[in-house]
């Protein structure tokens, strides 16, 4: 293999320049990780119980039965880990969905998967006996049978994904049909949820409403282990497929020409994204827009390359969720569920992307 002879060879410089450029992207990811660790350290000190960083580190490595130890492990550390895992999971799911559907508006939330699980939870609370509420104040509210509610929520998330896939199969596999199908599913489950709330009795209604608000402290440590295991498995698959996702950035024909099996890549990518979303939503409720915002922030900063986008989306997803949690916990004088905060941030971002997307399309 040899290049044309009449052109001077700068290719080594070009290659070296590229390697330096790639190093900068890696450095950017390391920088994000450092910020995330720093923010976690700041977050772990926030709270009513006054603890120094030294105390906190002590209790992390030597937990005992004291109140302080419980605060560190079961309130603060657990919430931080929940934010990191949920943010990372929703972030990477959004990045993959946007890539395989070639649609900047795709995310677990916009495809209706989150609402489907909320509907599932409501069904479980009302009809399957998951609905008795233990606790008397709203702060203390919890669903009586969380395992059942979570399982049914998860099943409905997978049903929504199945419906999207089925619709796509019937109408041929275009990204537009998938997103439109997601919107339709969103509408149906949102209506179903409203109906259930309307007919719910006094005990079920608060449980349903409570379940919908995405909050980090709902997840127990054992829930978090499940999320971690699922995230790890899904990540292995996503990283393995990153070159296929990159190929799809150049359009279906190019990807096919490069040997990518478009259909299976799309279906499996969607199913795995839905699995991680369903697990997160089932344990923590609806946390909207993280999957939409995180990949967009990363793309703006370091581009669409999935080799960096996957990691970047996880880090930024975790960062946004951790920050939203701080805002929700301390900005209003009372603890506001993090799902409400992310929706406040996400809505305007969604509109921004919509306007920008149209502008870009009209100029190309």
């Amino acid at each position: 293999m040899h290049g044309p002879v009449d052109i001077p060879d700068h290719s080594e410089e070009t290659a070296e320049g590229y390697i330096r450029f790639s190093r900068r992207k890696n450095l950017f990811l390391v920088g994000l990780a450092v910020i995330l660790v720093a923010l976690s350290l700041v977050t772990i000190r926030l709270g009513a119980t006054d603890l120094s960083l030294g105390d906190i580190i002590h209790y992390i490595f030597r937990p005992d039965s004291s109140w302080e130890s419980t605060v560190v492990w079961d309130l603060r550390l657990k919430n931080i880990v929940a934010a990191l895992l949920a943010g990372a999971g929703l972030g990477i799911a959004g990045a993959v969905m946007q890539g395989i559907l070639r649609n900047p508006l795709a995310s677990p939330y916009t495809l209706g998967i989150s609402n489907a699980s909320a509907f599932g939870a409501a069904v479980a609370i009302m009809f399957l006996g998951g609905g008795l509420i233990s606790g008397t104040t709203t702060l203390n509210l919890s669903v009586d049978n969380p395992a059942l509610v979570t399982a049914v929520a998860f099943i409905f998330a997978m049903i929504a994904t199945g419906i999207i896939l089925l619709l796509v199969k019937v109408t041929a596999c275009t990204p537009e049909t998938m997103v439109l199908a997601g919107m339709a599913i969103n509408a149906i489950f949102a209506a179903g949820l409203s109906f259930l709330q309307y007919i719910a009795d006094d005990t079920s209604l608060p449980a349903i409403v409570f379940w919908q608000f995405g909050a980090l402290d709902k997840a127990s440590w054992s829930n978090l282990y499940i999320i971690l295991a699922a995230l790890a498995l899904v990540c292995v698959y996503f990283y393995y497929k990153r070159w296929d996702y990159n190929s799809m950035e150049a359009g279906e024909d190019v990807a096919r020409g490069l040997g990518v099996d478009i259909k299976s890549t799309r279906v499996l990518g969607l199913v795995f994204s839905a699995v991680i979303t369903a697990i997160v939503v089932s344990f923590m409720g609806i946390i909207g827009f993280i999957g939409l915002i995180a990949p967009h922030i990363v793309k703006r900063l370091i581009g669409d390359d999935f080799r960096y986008l996957l990691t970047g989306s996880m880090l930024v997803g975790a960062l946004v969720l951790l920050l939203s949690n701080i805002v929700g916990s301390y900005a209003f004088g009372m603890s506001v569920p993090v799902g409400i905060i992310t929706s406040f941030i996400g809505g305007p971002v969604f509109i921004y992307i919509l306007i920008r997307g149209y502008r870009r399309r009209s100029t190309v």
């Binding site: 052109i7 410089e13 070009t14 070639r102 490069l258 990518v260 099996d261 581009g303 390359d305």
Partner: protein, 279 residues
Amino acid sequence: MSMLKVDGLEFSYGDAKILDGISFEAEEGHIVSILGPNGTGKTTMLKCICNIHRPQSGKVFVDGSDVFSLGGRELAKNIGFVPQSVPMSRMTVFDSVLIGRRPYIEISAGKQDIAKTAEVIDALGMSGLSLRYLNEISGGEYQKVQIARALVQEPKVLILDEPTNNLDISNQHTTMHMVENIVRSRGMTTVMTMHDINLAIHYSDMFLFLKDGHVAAYGDVDVITGDLIEDVYGIQVDVIEHRGVPFIVPRHSSKYMHDPPHHHPHDVHDHLLHEHETL
């Protein structure tokens, strides 16, 4: 020996037959232009050759192996395809070209993949742009990126769907000149669709004219005659010679209708011209 052999391709969308028994062969290092009016199945034919569309019958062989029986990666090592339009993404020029190494990448892009990508980018004169994002470069440069991606794939057969679409005359020739340079030095057989017959004549060894889904003519430059163009496109032309190269000139254009007819070397008789508006 022929590098590419297309044998009896038939393709229909539902009841509509698009390709009807397409057969031709192309030799190693040759550039073949596919010509014909809009909607005659040129792009469909290219996609059938790449196995993006699976034809109802017929076979395609590259270097003796049956394309339809190859797996995705193997196929990509044999045939590189550049579609007519490629969606914009926020990737750098280098990354976008590097994707072409996908059939060779097992886990991550190695030194060799990066070196080969740099080599092609350099050969296309885009070293200075390699770290720019695609939405920050011109249309001509964008088109070169698409071609570069197929070149780093190192296929035996390169398929280009209207590679000069949307390019100005200078970019048309620089792009085609570079493509010609590289495919000839690397011995890649190239099949491309073209709208501009004169541009095709400049850069091709063989010409395949498609009409209503079948081959109207296939051969070297001698195959191009006024009669063939009229048969395929339904328009009357003169084939004149310009610096030893045939040049196609339409006989009428409304702008010069009232001017006295020009006498070209090949156009000794002034016919009463009939309009065949089939386009």
